[in-house]
């Protein structure tokens, strides 16, 4: 699997090869064997060519925060898998979240309404730009968590769609 990351406009590509017990990382065309162990929620221990590194990772959508030696790095992740993922394969309960701090402009679907894949459910506005948020699944609106006019933070759940 190849992962592509962006740190302050610089793009890095990292390849992970997994073979039985061995994980090999390819970075800058260099193969590095790595031992990786999750030690707690958000916390990972990595042994890299004998070097022991403890790293914290927080994920919020495509944004990753990496904590290492007292420093916090903001990394943007783009994985191939993300790109391949088709919405039809999703099911269950989906939260429609605000992608950025914004204001709810219009609610297009009420609780109980049927929605189709990619059908718009809510419109938010940020920095004078309106964007329509779409449902990733077919289902029914089960919860509406905001009102028109509400100011919301990035990541706030706005509406829940359930396929069950």
């Amino acid at each position: 699997m190849t992962y592509t990351f962006k740190i302050k406009d610089k793009v890095y590509k990292i390849d992970i090869e997994k073979e039985k017990d061995q994980t090999v990382i390819q970075i800058d065309e260099k193969d590095i064997p790595v031992e990786f162990h999750k030690i707690d929620d958000h916390m990972y221990s990595i042994i890299l060519e004998g070097k022991s590194i403890t790293i914290g990772v927080l994920r919020n959508g495509k944004k990753l925060q990496i904590f290492m030696d007292g420093n916090l790095f903001e990394i943007e992740a783009i994985s191939e898998r993300d790109q391949r993922k088709s919405p039809q394969t999703l099911s269950g309960v989906q939260e429609i979240k605000s992608p950025m701090p914004s204001r709810v402009v219009k609610i297009l679907k009420e609780v109980g309404d049927e929605v189709l894949v990619d059908e718009g459910v809510i419109v938010v506005e940020a920095m004078k730009m309106e964007s329509e948020l779409k449902s990733p699944i077919e289902g029914k609106v089960t919860d509406l968590l905001v009102n028109e006019g509400d100011a919301v933070e990035a990541g706030t759940s706005l509406l829940i769609v359930s396929s069950e």
């Binding site: 699997m1 992962y3 990351f5 740190i7 890095y12 990292i14 992970i16 994980t23 990382i25 970075i27 590095i32 790595v34 990786f36 999750k38 707690d40 929620d41 958000h42 916390m43 990972y44 990595i46 890299l48 070097k51 590194i53 403890t54 790293i55 914290g56 990772v57 927080l58 994920r59 919020n60 990753l64 925060q65 990496i66 904590f67 290492m68 030696d69 007292g70 420093n71 916090l72 790095f73 990394i75 992740a77 994985s79 898998r81 099911s91 269950g92 309960v93 939260e95 979240k97 089960t142 919860d143 968590l145 933070e153 990541g155 706030t156 759940s157 829940i160």
Partner: protein
Amino acid sequence: MFNKILIANRGEIAVRIIRACKELGATTVAVYSDADRSSLHVTLADEAYHIGGSAPAESYLVIDKIIEVANKSGAQAIHPGFGFLSENEEFAQRCEKEGIVFIGPSAEAIRLMGDKITARKIAQDIKVPLVPGSDGAVTDVEASVIASKIGYPVMIKASAGGGGKGMRLVRDKEEFESSLRMARSEARSSFGDDSVFVERFVEQPRHVEIQILADSHGNTLHLFERECSIQRRHQKVVEEAPSSAISAKTRKKMGEVAVKIAKAVNYSGAGTVEFIMDQNENFFFLEMNTRVQVEHPVTEMISSIDIVKWMVRIAAGEKLPFKQKDIEMQGWALECRVYAEDPETNFMPSPGLLKYVKAPSGPGIRDDSSIYSGCEITSFYDPMLSKLVVWAENREAAIDKMASALREYIVLGVKTNIGFLIRLMDSEEFRQGKIDTGFIERHPELLTPGTVDLEPALIAAALAVDDLDQTEDSSKQDQSNWKLLGRKAALSGGSLI
């Protein structure tokens, strides 16, 4: 000794005081605002009472509410901690009236030292060295005349000030008028009082202060000095004891001066006399803080005296069992204030949910904090997360220990100044003790990580994303009703992201 003590504060200092009171055998009473229901001081205390909204003005600053809880719970004494009502004369008076012991000095001592102009007059009367400046509050015209007389650079300070608010450094005459205007308006909005005074600005000053401990039987002693020259926005970030800049002779003299000031206002309890010191060890009285100081732990580490416990014992009428000559200092202590703030954007506070917290430990390491994995840092209060304190045999060893301990500290979820503190500990000038209050401003390179090997971070990112994707996939496959239910419940609360 008191049977029951109310702690009128929150955060790490409330936790520190609760622990001390418990060790003294007293039942502890916490008070809390809406935002603090799950704070550590509430869960640690024996009793806890809700006192109102999250904004301090609706809870921790409301005298009536705190007195009401004291009466209802039967607390015999109140420890105010620092900030909030700790230096509020009216609160101390009110406690007295209600027959509750205020753990601190008399309302009169708070009043005399609380007003900087009065404090300056007292110091002047007993021949304590002062920075040349205006005798008290000044009009705009007077201010400008005095500034020219004492010579630039000058400092404009709010009479009712504290924490760097309403303070302006003026380097030349042209800037004076606009700086004066800004200082007044800041003073008005922060303290409701726009009177200011003017004094000479000491170049490359070091901030050195003396810890006072006085009982109500006439014994007033000092526990040596602390140096707090590493400041950002006029607020302390790193403190140490002793100071690397003062000789035994100056230490003795400064201690005696501080004791003299405390005696002049019949001080009792713990207090701090702050001085500004130039590069030739000339020191001038700044102010006296009539409460426990944030940085009191460094003094405790070198003197082996528990300041908070002594505050309580003194308030209960106990006599200090030791004399000045009995107090010895040993080794070196350092404190770093770990803040939820971003050094890269002028130390802007960074509130948020702490997803994971792990404090360092080991011999000589003390972490005074109230944070834990899952707690929330709100924007209602100071963004200080912890006071990391270390003790070692000398300054160099203490810095090494601090640098190592900071590298062990993990705080996930908000921006912190930990990386900055590590770079500060590693910097040659700091290690050599070449510090003054302008140190951070002079070293902007310490604010950013600089050249860091990003490879491990990128590898970790890739492995973590891979791991998280797999976990999410498997949880999707066996999504149970319980999980769904929990998720819905959490969402309807609207607090989960």
